[in-house]
Amino acid sequence: MPLRDAAFHAFFEQHYAGLSRLAFLMTGETSVADDLAADALTEVWQHWDRVAAAGDPAAYARGIVANLTRNWIRRQGRARRRLRLLGVLGGDPDRVQPDVPAVLEVRRALLVLPHRRRACVVLRYAFDLSEQDVATILDISVGAVKSQTSRGAHQLAELLGDRQIIERVGGWRGE
């Protein structure tokens, strides 16, 4: 029985969805999430023996997804990204669609966060990983994970809070 195939196959089945969702949360794009996660899984497969011997293939795979998504976002071009961010933060309440679903707002707000902050928030809150796990995945210190997560969470809460205030004009202002 080819143990390597079996092991990787089991790994794929266990993690493909989570890795793709991680890529989605990091990029905000469903269209590229599967591709980036599959590229990360290709790397895992390529170096499976070494990765498995190191003991935590899932952390390795998530780290690669974090890396690939950062590269992907960079390639989208800073100008385009700024435009998108301006769309979020533009401060033009007339452009706000009152019926935009809340999840879309979270998705946009996430994209405003710097990469590492976003990665920390996503891994801690969406995937419920420990600070130590996140530190391993992103190859940073536990202290850095704490501060980045805390800053990211506050920034996100503020963005969403602001957003809700804008969307509930009247309701909030009235109170």
């Binding site: 196959h9 493909y16 793709s20 969702r21 790397e43 390529q46 928030v121 809150y125 969403l160």
Partner: protein, 263 residues
């Protein structure tokens, strides 16, 4: 902004999980992409594996992609029997006639490429970071890019600040007939020392900034030249890595490969 009374942590947890659930991963598409990645890497390995790559493309369609690709790529394990008892990975059914090409006892067409000693699970002494998925092409004031053009592999470094130290290594994996043909760079001030080292598994091209010299901010190209057997050479495992200090005493460290930007 918590006047609305929801503790940010549980609020974020709920919202992020809900958002994550919005994306429904396409398992089959991911499997296909993995198979295609591996096939395309195999395909650039030169003409000796063209046939095999074509066979992979066929078998990939039939759902046996990663069962048969092991004969082609740089796996550490020898060819072994397909995992017949495992579920078909793409949900498609039916055996592939092409798969028999790679069954045990029948050498894969790429077997000539396995003359390089198999690597152990430990990194080799000449390990240079920068493999796909493990790249950092930009750090602080230093930006980098790898490119290839028949018989040359070039690393472009763009330094936004003066560099007071620089060590750049280009690592070319030994492929059939690979031989160094020297190196060149466009630093005109004579401050770069260049050398080529042959290891058991790779050629290492070193470019080092002389001690107490300064490389002014600017864009520089460092090129490894080589000859090889066959019409084309696989650059998929070639990497580069550069360490340096800029004038502000900040450490810069970049690494990457020659495959272009990862998709």
């Amino acid at each position: 902004m918590n006047e609305h009374g929801r503790p940010p942590e549980s609020f974020l947890r709920t919202e992020l999980r809900r958002l994550a659930g919005e994306h429904e991963p396409d398992r089959a598409a991911m499997l296909n992409r993995i198979a295609a990645n591996r096939a395309s890497r195999a395909r650039v390995r030169g003409q000796t594996v063209r046939l095999a790559a074509a066979a992979v493309a066929v078998t990939t369609v039939l759902g046996l992609g990663w069962v048969v690709t092991r004969g082609l790529a740089d796996d550490d394990t020898p060819a072994v029997a397909p995992p017949a008892s495992m579920p078909n990975t793409t949900g498609l059914t039916g055996p592939s006639p092409s798969a028999s090409t790679f069954l045990p006892g029948i050498p894969a067409p790429s077997s000539t490429l396995t003359s390089v000693p198999p690597s152990s699970s430990a990194p080799t002494s000449s390990e240079v970071r920068g493999h796909p998925g493990d790249t950092k092409v930009e750090k602080g004031s230093l930006w980098s890019e790898g490119s290839t053009d028949g018989g040359t592999s070039t690393v472009t470094l763009k330094a936004q600040a003066d560099l007071t130290t620089l060590d750049l290594t280009i690592r070319l994996v030994l492929t059939p007939g690979l031989a160094e043909q020297g190196s060149t760079h466009d630093v005109t001030t004579g401050v770069i020392t260049a050398s080529v080292e042959r290891r058991s598994d790779a050629l290492l091209y070193h470019f080092t900034l002389r001690q107490s010299a300064t490389l002014p901010a600017g864009t520089y190209m460092f090129t490894a030249r080589y000859s090889h057997d066959g019409a084309s050479r696989d650059v998929g495992e070639d990497t580069y890595e550069a360490f340096g200090d800029d004038a502000d005493h900040r450490r810069v460290h970049v690494y990457g490969n020659f495959l272009g930007q990862p998709r």
